[in-house]
């Protein structure tokens, strides 16, 4: 076994409502049983960049599974076409997201190399969804990367099915790592501070970091928003966090 070696392939999981859902699974090669991470993609969809993140997590020693949250809207479509279709339909309903994450968790736990410990990580809309999943399911860790509208409601007349989930923070099942950009507006610094306050008041284990000079999507290497220093530090915190909570 050589650290960093991995396999990656498309699989089918059983998602919300018993639906078959396409997913991308990356796994370390060889070694002892390891923890698993459900990767929740951003609004642009089940794309190459998020597959790269999924492989990165496996290269660093964890099982990683990204369900295609837009599979029902557009099976077989290119990621951007699927994202456009889903966006026009109001996005992913929260109950369906939770069901697809639950199905992803079950799939990971069923693998021979799983140690049974599970986490979620999400970016952008996926950040809010990672928090939602951790408030709805029994997880060992969750990472929220700049998830918006966890507490604030979207503007009036906006068709996206995104509702605040501040009333669910008391149900958070696991430690939460939050990574944010200080220059982001969705979520803005005030919302990040308030979310941390609510979680701490509810007795939850929380670790939040906000990076100066970084805005939204600072982990995204395909966009001008990429901030190498913030992303580098963020990844180091993610590995330390997973190391503490996903080791069996």
């Amino acid at each position: 076994m050589t650290p960093g070696d991995l396999t990656a392939e498309t699989v089918t999981i059983v998602g919300h409502g018993g639906d078959p859902v396409e997913a991308y699974l990356a796994a370390p090669v060889g070694g002892p049983p390891v923890g698993g991470v459900v990767v929740i993609h951003h609004m642009p969809g089940y794309d190459a960049g998020t597959k790269e993140i999924t492989r990165k997590i496996a290269a660093n020693g964890y099982l990683a599974l990204m369900p295609n949250l837009y599979f029902r809207e557009a099976p077989g479509a290119s990621p951007d076409d699927a994202a456009a279709a889903a966006r026009a339909n109001g996005g992913v309903p929260d109950d369906r997201l939770v069901g697809d994450v639950a199905g992803s968790m079950a799939h990971l736990a069923s693998l021979p190399v799983s140690n049974g410990r599970l986490a979620t990580i999400g970016y952008c809309s996926g950040g809010r969804q990672s928090l939602l999943a951790a408030c709805s399911l029994d997880l060992d860790a969750a990472v929220d990367c700049y998830g918006a509208f966890a507490l604030s409601a979207p503007p009036d007349g906006f068709p996206m099915a995104v509702t605040p989930i501040g009333d669910k923070v008391a149900d958070l099942s696991c430690p939460l790592l939050g990574l944010f950009g200080s220059e982001d507006q969705y979520p803005g610094p005030e919302e990040v501070v308030e979310l941390e306050r609510l979680l701490v008041a509810a007795g939850k284990e929380v670790e939040f970091h906000s990076y100066e000079g970084a805005g939204h999507a600072f982990f995204n290497t395909d966009r001008p928003s990429f901030r190498a220093e913030a992303a580098g530090d963020g990844w180091e915190r993610i590995w330390a966090f997973f190391g503490r909570h996903l080791t069996g």
Partner: protein
């Protein structure tokens, strides 16, 4: 930031996508992160026909200033059309 803001409307006409011409029935307009354009935010328009699947889509991502200029050009063209050519 992801703005999430999206306006959808019904439209009539035709669009040319990756597989050729097709009737368009719906449009989405949003100012948000692009997929291809090298910018943080663009004005994005999807002309779609959901009944033909997600790939039945003509997509553009425009710099906001370009989008505004295009919007004015569209309105000017409609406003200056010969009498009786464009229903009011």
């Amino acid at each position: 930031m992801c703005t999430y803001r999206t306006t959808t409307l019904e439209v009539e006409g035709s669009g040319k996508g990756a597989a050729g011409w097709f009737p368009v029935t719906d449009a989405s307009v949003y100012l948000d992160h692009p997929v291809h354009a090298p910018a943080d935010h663009t004005l994005n328009v999807d002309l779609r026909n959901p009944s033909r699947g997600a790939a039945a889509r003509v997509a553009v991502e425009l710099d906001p200033a370009s989008a505004r200029a295009l919007a004015h050009a569209i309105l000017d063209m409609l406003d200056s059309a010969p009498a009786g050519l464009v229903p009011s």
